[in-house]
């Protein structure tokens, strides 16, 4: 506890010095013997006075590094920052007065270790989750408004292009949609097949829809979303391409169903989960675009610094999107088969749209980070 004041004393001592005892070359000129009996070094005395505190700190650090801060008792927790500060101040003093390399390296190492414990991640996983959903996620979405808009428009462009290309020539669908995503839907599907096997398919049972199917959809979509975000580091071009491509697929399917006079039923079938799913895709894309923007146009900072500032909030978009994908997977895998009329599906779609919109628009406003 007294260490800081001790250090001050040493500093003072070091500053004023005692002009007497030391006969240095400049004054002496002659060569008087310097060490009468044994060596009394200021740095050695300095070390002797503080060594116990450093060893105590080392013990606390070993405990905290192994079991987290929770492993320390209340009394130890109170001592930790005091010991940390006195070790840091000892390092500063040692740099000024000591030439003992081992001592300096040891103190630097000790200071770094205690710095990492004292200023380490404060929040546990649960606490970070709560903070994330009540404040960080919606405010990150609000901050990325323009990127969300660009991502949204890219998808709209894709949908329009896919629709127009497929509505005249359905072979386009087979060209762009990977076979495992198309399932048994394709050029040869008839209106009745689509109605019975897709849009109003019978309820396949709880486990099959909620667990198996929803799970597959969630993993597949999340992978695409994370890729969209991560590829933002490649200047955003692949992110935009993926966004447009998602739109193309969707547009092609709309055209396929429109040609068979199923437009409204198909939109109902898609929108029940599509609002959430496209929301998530847009957020991932927006995250990728935020990163791309700050790589391409770093305004006042260097590219690396700029990325460090904005990359975190961009990653929050992608992270929140994973949750949206999860909900979308549940709706798509299960709810859609439970609600089997188009009007009901549209109602749920509208409900989710309003819910998400108000969440992103209003949640966590005025809360400080």
């Amino acid at each position: 506890m007294t260490a800081p004041s001790q250090d001050d004393a040493v500093m003072q001592e070091a500053g004023t010095g005692d002009g007497g005892g030391a006969s240095c070359a400049a004054i002496g000129g002659e060569t008087p013997p310097l060490q009468p009996a044994g060596f009394v070094l200021r740095s050695t005395e300095f070390r002797r006075g503080r060594e116990q505190g450093w060893r105590d700190l080392e013990g606390l650090l070993a405990k905290a590094e192994r079991g987290g801060l929770g492993a320390l008792s209340t009394e130890e927790l109170q001592r930790l920052p005091l010991l940390h500060r006195s070790a840091m101040s000892a390092l500063s003093v040692a740099r000024a007065i000591a030439l003992d390399r081992h001592l300096l390296l040891y103190l630097e190492n000790l200071g770094l270790r205690s710095f990492l414990v004292v200023y380490g991640p404060r929040q546990g996983i649960l606490e970070s989750c709560r903070e994330f959903f009540t404040r960080a996620f919606p405010s990150a979405v609000r901050a990325a408004g323009i990127h969300v808009l660009i991502a949204f428009l890219s998808i709209v462009v894709g949908v329009a292009a896919g629709f127009m290309l497929t509505v005249g020539d359905e072979s386009f669908l087979a060209a762009i949609v990977p076979p495992d995503l198309a399932g048994d839907r394709g050029i040869s599907s008839t209106r009745e097949q689509l109605l019975q096997h897709e849009i109003f398919a019978p309820w396949p049972g709880f486990t099959r829809s909620f667990i198996t199917f929803a799970n597959f959809l969630f993993q597949h979509n999340t992978l695409i979303g994370i890729m969209m975000f991560g590829l933002g580091i490649a200047a955003g071009v692949p992110t935009l391409m993926l966004l447009v491509y998602q739109g193309l697929i969707f547009g092609a399917f709309i055209a396929l169903h429109a040609n068979r006079d199923l437009l409204v039923d198909f939109l109902g079938w898609v929108s029940i989960h599509g609002v959430t799913e496209f929301g998530a895709i847009i957020l991932c894309g927006a995250g990728g675009l935020v990163i791309a923007q700050h790589i391409l146009f770093p305004d006042r900072y260097s590219r690396v610094d700029n990325l460090a500032v904005y990359g975190r909030s961009a990653s929050q978009l992608a992270l929140g999107a994973v949750l949206l994908f999860f909900i979308a997977g549940l709706i798509e895998g299960g709810m859609r088969q439970l609600v089997s009329d188009t009007a009901g599906r549209f109602a749920i779609a509208a409900l989710t749209a309003v819910a998400w919109f108000s969440y992103f628009a209003f949640a966590g406003r005025g809360l400080k980070p």
Partner: protein, 299 residues
């Protein structure tokens, strides 16, 4: 000034003795102290990653064994497979995040190889930074590996081109000074190595049999003093003994020591010379006459 000298980004003593010095950066702590940190080597990071992947693989294999156990135990195969796949997905994506949050920036692999993730500017490591640096792992690591497999199978040009392109991102740590990968750039983090150091006894001799004049002691500076310290701290062996007696001879010649030192007393003489030299240089330094090395002028 003295911080930059002693805590320097460039460790002259280590470079002189070992021929190499570790790549260092400095962070500024909230107390206003500059702390040098050693960047982790590519090799150390690769070892950490291999250990983490091995643990991940073991957990995944265990999960697959779990599937078999559940199916044998009478659970519907579909449900068991789905549950396990979901768990495997969560493990793959949350393994790094969980440990870097709970173990203060270290996964088990990093822990074993003595590495830590820290904020590049010395701020606290926030959860959002941890999430950010691990979200891109999918693109940097799992995707290229999957592509490599698909190039091997399908031999298609598109996959090959994509592989080369993503490979460049995976190799990002090779191309920048701070050895940051894509995720580190996004999160503003670096990976550092923290060696464990114990506090050893001070080398200063407790009694003195030789005495040195201040002119003799003025022959050297702080750099030579610390080289001598490192040599004296080396474990005693025939090689060290030979080195020390060579050093002893050079010092005696330089300071004009009249009598030859018997081989048995080389360590004792050098220890005392070290103590006297350190006492002299530290005192000189207090008076503002710091001497960097033997070539810099005193005062």
């Amino acid at each position: 000034m003295s911080a930059a000298r002693n805590g320097a980004a460039d460790d002259k003593v280590a470079r002189f003795l070992d021929g190499v010095s570790r790549n260092r950066r400095e962070i500024l702590t909230p107390e206003g102290v500059l702390l040098p940190v050693d960047l982790a080597d590519h090799g150390e990071r690769a070892v950490a990653l291999v250990i983490d992947l091995f643990i991940w693989l073991c957990v995944t294999v265990l999960l697959y064994l779990g599937i078999i156990a559940l199916i044998v135990g009478g659970m519907a195969a579909e449900v068991a497979v789905a549950l396990i796949l979901l768990l495997a997905f969560i493990v793959r994506n949350l393994y790094f995040v969980y440990f870097e949050l709970a173990w203060q920036g270290a996964t088990p692999g990093k822990w074993v190889s003595g590495l830590r993730v820290i904020d590049r500017r010395g701020g606290p490591l926030t959860p959002s930074a941890v999430f950010a640096r691990n979200l891109t792992r999918e693109v940097e690591m799992f995707l290229p590996v999957g592509l490599m497999v698909s190039v091997g199978i399908t031999n298609s040009w598109e996959s090959l081109a994509l592989l080369v392109w993503l490979g460049l991102f995976a190799a990002l740590p090779m191309f920048n000074r701070d050895r940051m990968r894509g995720g580190d750039f996004i999160a503003g983090t670096i990976v550092i190595a923290i060696p464990k150091r114990a506090l050893l006894a001070d080398l200063v001799a407790s009694r003195s049999r030789y005495s040195f004049s201040s002119q003799q002691l003025a022959a050297y500076g702080a750099f030579e003093l610390q080289i001598l310290e490192e040599l004296l701290r080396r474990p005693r062996s025939a090689q060290t003994a030979a080195l020390l007696s060579e050093v002893c001879g050079k010092i005696c010649a330089k300071i004009g020591w009249p009598t030859p030192i018997p081989a048995a007393d080389v360590v004792g003489f050098l220890t005392e010379f070290y103590s006297a030299e350190r006492a002299f240089l530290e005192r000189e330094r207090l008076y503002g006459r710091h001497r960097e090395d033997k070539n810099s002028r005193l005062g």
